[in-house]
């Protein structure tokens, strides 16, 4: 089965979350989801755009959606929940003719509508399906205890994101369970990590990220799997800051769920990119996998 879908990597996919982008591409190729890059895509505007001007923000995303339409496609996937929120919000706002007219005035080519945006996670679950994912497993993640952390905007607001349970999402749990991992019950799946407050108010992120790391530890997790570049940064890169602020000594790997899938699907180490992470998952991983054998 090979399905062509437009792929929107998002800016962090070229920078802070290169390993997310690379592992996503490799995993999708392995399970028969062929991703076609949106040509000449531009930044979605991220948080600064939508906190400054809704019209400008929508125009930025509408440009990318129209590029997808120009490809003759109706569906775009993106690994980044923040990009996804902007794409879906733009679609929603542009349904109103008056708003669409204002936003389209800013664009060379007006957005014709009709392009849907999905997360990579949703495409894996709904287009490929859990059975096919399971069938593709070569190295089951047996013995690896994983807490799945979705972050606060992957499924919310529920009317907009329209995927999975907004309070207790299960998609990532099911995907990694299909990879053979042992999923630990993690109660803070959709809690906020502090997001971009990492820059102006590190103390807030230290407290919120600390709570997540504590909950994962109490749940008995070896790792926290994530689906959002910003969550990943706050939990992994800032783990030292958290430890200093709280007097704690967490050392929990925080890989992207696509990286863990990469291991299970026997994808090349270079595409998995564990070396890009702050807390290296490899020691815990090999210990768990050998322990299970």
């Amino acid at each position: 089965m090979s399905e062509a879908i437009a792929y929107y990597p998002g800016c962090s996919g070229l920078g802070t979350s290169k390993e997310y982008d690379a592992s996503t591409r490799a995993v999708c190729a392995k399970v028969g989801l062929s991703l076609v890059d949106v040509p000449d895509w531009s930044c979605c505007g991220s948080t600064p755009a939508h906190t400054t001007d809704h019209t400008l923000s929508a125009a930025l995303s509408a440009r990318n959606l129209q590029l997808v339409a120009d490809m003759g496609m109706k569906l775009a996937v993106t690994p980044c929940p923040s990009c996804l929120t902007n794409l879906r919000t733009a679609n929603h706002r542009m349904e109103k003719a008056a708003f669409a007219e204002k936003a389209n005035r800013l664009l060379d080519e007006p957005y014709s509508g009709g392009v849907n945006a999905q997360s990579v996670l949703q495409a894996l679950v709904e287009t490929v399906g859990l059975d096919a994912l399971k069938a593709a497993v070569r190295t089951p993640l047996a013995g690896l205890k994983v807490a799945c952390y979705y972050g606060c905007i992957m499924n919310r607001p529920p009317e907009l994101m329209a995927f999975d349970d907004c309070e207790n999402p299960m998609a990532m749990d099911n995907v990694l369970a299909a990879m053979g991992a042992e999923i630990v019950p993690f109660p803070l799946k959709v809690e906020c990590c502090g997001a971009s407050y990492g820059i102006p108010r590190g103390d807030i992120v230290a407290r919120l990220a600390g709570k997540l790391l504590e909950a994962a530890t109490l749940a008995g997790a070896d790792m926290v799997a994530v689906a959002c570049p910003l969550c990943q940064m706050n939990l992994d890169l800032r783990q030292g800051q958290v430890n200093r602020a709280l007097g704690a000594s967490y050392r929990i790997p925080v890989p992207y769920f696509t990286q863990l899938m990469g291991v299970a699907l026997n994808i090349a180490d270079a595409d998995i990119g564990f070396d890009k992470l702050n807390v290296d998952p490899r020691p815990v991983l090999s210990k768990a996998l050998t322990g299970a054998q």
């Binding site: 349970d165 309070e167 207790n168 019950p185 109660p187 803070l188 504590e214 909950a215 109490l218």
Partner: protein, 652 residues
Amino acid sequence: MRIGVFVCHCGSNIEGTVDTAVVARTSLDFPEVVYATDTMYACSEPGQDGIIQAIKEKHLTGVVVASCTPRMHEPTFRRAVERAGLNRFMFEMANIREHVSWIGKDREANTNKSVDLVRIAVEKLRRDAPLSPSKFSINKRVMIIGGGVAGIQAALDCADGGLEVVLVERESTIGGKMAKLDKTFPTVDCSSCILGPKMVDVAQHDKITLHAYSEVDSIGGYVGNFQVKVKKRATYVDWTLCTGCGACMEKCPSKKNPDKFNEKIGPTTSINIPFPQAIPKKAVIDPTTCRQFVKGKCGVCAKVCPTGAIRYDMADEIVTEDVGAIVAATGYDLFDIRKIPEYGAGRYPDVITSLAYERLLSASGPTGGHVKRPSDGKEPKNVVFIQCVGSRDKSLDRPYCSGFCCMYTAKQAILTKDHIPDSQSYVFYMDIRSPGKMYDEFTRRAMEEYGARYIRGRVAMVYPKGDKMIVRGADTLAGTQVEVEADLVVLAAGAEAAVGAPQLAEKLRISYDRYGFFMESHPKLKPVETNTAGVYLAGSCQGPKDIPQSVGQGSAAAAKVLALFSKDQLESDPQISRVDIKRCVGCGKCIMTCPFQAIKEVEFRGQKKAEVIETVCQGCGICTSTCPQGAIQLSHFTDNQILAEVNALCQS
């Protein structure tokens, strides 16, 4: 015909936006109207006397009153014209309040519309004919559906009043929700101690027939003469032999089934008597878990039963009960707390409903009255109560207040302190609603004497941390977020219409609201009546109610039944369909469409004809629009009358 028109001011209700004097004056131009006047309150004593006097002085032969909806005062005015010597059906009402003055502010337009409505009423009245009711005998037995406290009260009051009572209960024992409660507010007296004697009275009363483990299958007939088919579900135990000794429960090898009576927080056996005070105290086998049914072999209960009462081959049985009145007292069910995923019910064993907590507090509950939380059996120290779970929440389509949760939560906070003196209760609330005798004092006692900490705000999330549950919410009085480490979280689940309530309402031919609660005939003045004659309501089936209110309604419904049965015969409504035998071609279409089975086929000089059964016909008129010949006509609403109304409106 000499017609009089009376246009009511209804104080300022009508006069405020309708010029009633103009309406009266204009109606004098209508055919056969010989007298017209406006009047302050037509329904008042002087108002009615004015009508009676005018009938006598002006020799009126028909009356139109233009006032409010006929639902309230049509009977009033019919009695008035009858007192003046006219037939009560020589009267028509024009609704110029609900249909005019209350819905529009334009006085001129309202006045014109009122004139039109009076014109219509006059044209109908001109074609009215005197009608006389016939009398029919009634069966002075009453059926009570539902054996909770409301139904028990209604049954006992009716039986003490000398009526024969048939009580139908869906579960294997009567007692309802009240039997599951530990204590009751605001007196903290033991629920089963005050309910138990009433349950025993039901069992011992020679006027009461109890069908437990039974459901209403279908209802036919009409006020005074209902035929109710009751399905007695198979219990697989011959209750005439079962002595309730409980030997079967002791030996039953299938012991790990969720106990419905204990709100599924404890296990029970497949053959079961729900609780020691059950009435009737008889065993029932659950075939979905019983090994004899599931695996085809076991038979332990049959071996140990000292009276040989076990019957694995028992089948459901239908019995027919003829009664003259029915009281619906089917109670409520709890909101499914799993519908609020952020509270974690269903995922976390230590998040339970308030009713499950009652079972933990009860000495006859699964823990013998020692509060032990479900996950690890530890005694909780910090107990968090969350109110309004499935009440007052538009997002869940439950905008109504369940009414009793504030009170039972205060009671549970008090009982928690009694059971565990070193415990601390927290109550997250929206508003404390405690109107009722000694109610507000009671909630204050929970706070002041028992130290329950009341936090005004909603809970956002409940999640486990170690062996604690973290309850995160807002304190809207302090304007802060709060997090409480709880050992047990009790959700005050809101009340919902009982499972199957809408289906029962349809069998009873009564209305229900969008939430499934049964509709009373008038929200203030007819709270236990329905719009179907002979069918009454008691308790929470009409809307959430606490015990005193339910008991009050049980007695009220019984009083209504006793009043109805104080006569030996009832008058039938003459506004029914009649067949013009010359026109009827015997096609039988009316027989097929009648929802009340009120039309039968008869032979007349060798030809098939339709015939209306006078006492069964409800006057709905469906047959009249079905009849291809126009041979069946609804008295007082004939085709000619309706066409005359249409003509009056269109030609005006």
